[in-house]
């Protein structure tokens, strides 16, 4: 057995804390974009995941996701309640850090993924049924997909599908679930006639900063060691985010006449999300190109959304869904074993098979997550009712669902 490496352990502990900070960061990123009466309700939908999903992760999720493989589909339940997950490193997952540290690092990913979906049905979901849906989604959607892609024995991983830090597991899965949610949950009252103007953009920009900061832990930590791969993932993360932001602003300036702060935030998140699966596998130059493509693709997707008439309120499909697909496929183009010898070569290095397996990953994860989320939402809707009442929608989530107001009286 490899002895525990203290530098690796310290690094992953810090990275886990950084990823944890992304959930509150996401909460205020979203909250800045909603109306004054829905600020706390929106924050709460992300923030509560820290409790709900951490609990699920410890008592069920970690074992389902990373437990001993059963037919490539799911982990067995031998690590329920983290039994046997302690100081001794796992031979497969982070062999130089305590197994418990790996489990906690992964916990933060499980927490933020369902929180990302909430942007799709912002300002109109009942809190109780929303909790039921999120918990069920974590169990039925997140845990299996996480197992397929990341666990030893997972069927997509066995096919050669690569996903460094969550292009499929986090971004495509929240995007596909968001698409299902916009189809099941009807648009906000007045959508299409009234103005839904963000109530506090400085909040959204601060949230973007926290997300970016946390993303270094998200991607860098996915190396599971304080090594050259972590350094390469760190660099790619920053360059992807930077290029996404610059590209979005440039297109917006040309297309709309002025660059906007919400554009800067959206482009940054698009770039960061797109580079996520590829970070740790690609060169800094490739990361810049991926970030530029992210800015172009997500800007176009968001611009076309309004024509389709679906109320994906905070653009989860247009940003995270599109990023997850683009990043996963672009990894098949730009991956290089010169950067990461344990990875694979992409199209540019003369290997055509990686992009095909990446495509299989996108189709499998996209289709499963969309269908399973749609069914879950329909079930919860028919049993409990997802939609808030007319009165609560007029009054706002803050008072209606939580008996509080964000800005005093």
């Amino acid at each position: 057995m490899i002895p525990i490496d203290r530098a690796d352990t310290a690094f992953i502990l810090i990275c886990a804390a950084l990823v944890m900070l992304m959930t509150p960061g996401l909460a205020i990123f979203y909250a800045g974009m909603v109306r004054t009466k829905n600020v706390l309700g929106t924050i709460m939908q992300s923030f509560v995941m820290i409790a709900l999903i951490s609990l699920e992760w410890v008592y069920l999720g970690y074992s389902m996701s990373f437990g001993t493989d059963v037919s490539g589909i799911i982990g067995d339940l031998s690590w329920l309640g983290l039994s046997g997950v302690g100081a001794a490193p796992s031979p497969v997952y982070g062999p130089t850090i305590p197994h418990l540290v790996f489990a906690m690092f992964q916990c933060m990913f499980a927490v933020i993924t369902p929180a990302l979906i909430t942007g799709a049905f912002a300002e109109r979901m009942r809190f109780g049924p929303f909790l039921v849906f999120s918990l069920a989604w974590a169990i039925i959607v997140y845990n299996p997909v996480c197992h397929w892609v990341w666990a030893s024995g997972g069927w997509l991983r066995n096919l050669g599908v690569q996903d460094f830090a969550g292009g499929l597991v986090v971004h495509l899965s929240c995007g596909a679930a968001a698409l299902a949610a916009t189809l099941v949950v009807s648009p906000r009252k007045g959508y299409g006639n009234e103005n839904f103007v963000p109530h506090n953009l400085p909040m959204t920009l601060l949230g973007t900063g926290l997300l970016w900061f946390g993303w270094f832990g998200f991607n860098g930590g996915s190396a599971l060691a304080a090594d050259d791969i972590a350094g390469s993932a760190f660099a790619a993360t920053h360059l992807g985010g930077m290029a996404g932001m610059a590209t979005w602003l440039a297109i917006e300036w040309i297309h709309r006449g002025k660059p906007t702060t919400l554009g800067a935030a959206s482009g940054a998140v698009a770039g960061l999300a797109t580079i996520t699966p590829a970070s740790g596998f690609v060169s800094p130059n490739a990361a810049v190109i991926i970030g530029v493509i992210a800015g172009l693709a997500c800007y176009t997707a968001v611009a076309y959304k309004s024509r389709l008439g679906y109320d994906d309120s905070l653009d989860v499909v247009g940003i995270h869904g599109v990023s997850g697909i683009c990043g996963t496929l672009l990894l098949g183009v730009f991956a290089s074993r010169a950067i990461n010898p344990s990875g694979a070569n992409g199209l540019l290095a003369g290997n055509t098979s990686l992009i095909l397996s990446q495509l299989v990953g996108v189709v499998a994860v996209g289709a499963y997550v969309f269908c399973a989320s749609w069914v879950l939402l329909k079930i919860v809707d028919s049993l409990l009712g997802l939609r808030i009442s007319d009165d609560t929608e007029n009054q706002g989530l803050d008072l209606g669902e939580h008996s509080e107001t964000a800005y005093g009286s």
């Binding site: 006639n193 009234e194 103005n195 007029n394 008072l399 008996s403 509080e404 009286s409």
Partner: protein, 112 residues
Amino acid sequence: MRKIEAIIKPFKLDEVKQALSAIGIQGMTISEVKGYGRQKGHKEIYRGAEYMVDLIPKIKIEIVVDQSMVDLVVQKIVESARTGKIGDGKIFVLPVEEVIRVRTGETGKDAI
């Protein structure tokens, strides 16, 4: 000339604006106000402590129109702001002595 002051529920503003622009009203001033009448306030809870908040957020619309428009404007506001529940608001009609457009110095009806 008359000034119409309407206190309405905030989420009704868009509908009222649309109803008024449909009859040719070209401008209005609005403010976010708080107040109470027969509609009781609501309860807020902070760390278990309950507070009755009796001042409820409302929107005040101010429009100055010619005498001949008053009835129609009032009717349109009533129709578009009504939910039928308590707290739909009030409309006040006040006489206006004079109106002056700052840019041109025009007065009276021409300045509305």
